[in-house]
Symmetry: C2
Subunit: 247 residues, 2 copies
Amino acid sequence: MALERIYGRHPVAEAVRAGRRPIRRLWAADRVALPEGAGPAKSASAQELQLLCGSPEHQGLVAEVNPFPYADPTTLLSGQGPTLVIALDQIQDPRNLGAICRSAEVAGADGVVIPSRRAAAVTPAVCKASAGAVEHLAIARVTNLASWLERAKDSGAWVHGASASAETDYDEADLSGPVVLVVGGEEKGLRPRVAQTCDVLVRIPQHGRVESLNAAGAATILIFEARRQRRKGTSRTPGPGTAKPKA
Amino acid sequence: MALERIYGRHPVAEAVRAGRRPIRRLWAADRVALPEGAGPAKSASAQELQLLCGSPEHQGLVAEVNPFPYADPTTLLSGQGPTLVIALDQIQDPRNLGAICRSAEVAGADGVVIPSRRAAAVTPAVCKASAGAVEHLAIARVTNLASWLERAKDSGAWVHGASASAETDYDEADLSGPVVLVVGGEEKGLRPRVAQTCDVLVRIPQHGRVESLNAAGAATILIFEARRQRRKGTSRTPGPGTAKPKA
């Protein structure tokens, strides 16, 4: 098992708090406060820390931990309350993946599903971009995203895909029941087979002159709209609701 | 006037489309398609392009242009329809500023206000992070953000600040009338004087275990909630509405 080196204040602190992958070794710059419970650290210069983790964004802290503990993709569909899962179709940019995971964690989503190929994996750079949120979040990798979406539909979730050419506005869709929100990769959007698998395609209305939101912005808007609808306990328009019959 | 070198496919293409700062010189890698209307380009290697713009993220295109044309801060409050302006209190990270500008442009906001000190300016890195959206957007710099917010209030806008300790949920606030949405810098949030100047403080409910959304995520959620309320033409709860008396 290849160990990983996560870096930065929030990533190391959240790894300790979450306790899913213990700190095996810790290096810290001299005047940096260690996260509570992190254990002893070996002193290291800024340059040494950069060499240890491969990034200048270490903020004086590098920790050696186990590889990211991916979740079983089936467990994401069996949480308490109506399912809220985000499925990402080939997000390539670690910063986008990290930002989406942070939004998903803050929104209390059940988890995130990513393809195992042609997509960013949960690397230390993703952990940093998520401010450590990935340490608390269930993230599953699947070899075939469309097949997993079919399984999610079978389990009773409504699969909503973000598409600029959709006719339904995202806030007209009923996201208050069990849903999987699917967001496509940068530039390309959803692949045809993934889009075809969705129950509903929704669009985020665009009022500007540039092409579109970035993937992290679109995912954040959808996740928090689902959360807003759940808080209200109401659906705004007649929609699929929670009573989806098993396919 | 110090010229700037913007880089990347979208930034150069949007600068050409927006026409606010003409391309003075253009360099391109050999097999890269030039944006329509960009004019002739000088051939350059990837390494030369990186030296010209100082970033490896040039995607084969670098353009020399005038410095970013900041807007007059008073004009942001006199657009058509109810004002929608985003004010940023000391956002330091160029990627966050770029992401927020992209969301603001896509949402059709009137503009963005940033402090002239202790905050990221609209550099080529910000232009890249915004996918060129800044080229179309009115962005103003002000020496004193709290004073500008007072002027915005005098003009009839309601100033809503994002604060984790606020008691009002963001979607319970009436954002359908003229509003300025204020988002604080990374880690620190709003400065006390800026928070005191706001008419209303709103929070984005947090359901997870990590501290908070990042600044770009929070700004994007607020901007699109304001846009959603405007599309509906309804306020969800009794709120300040559009009939604010002049202060």
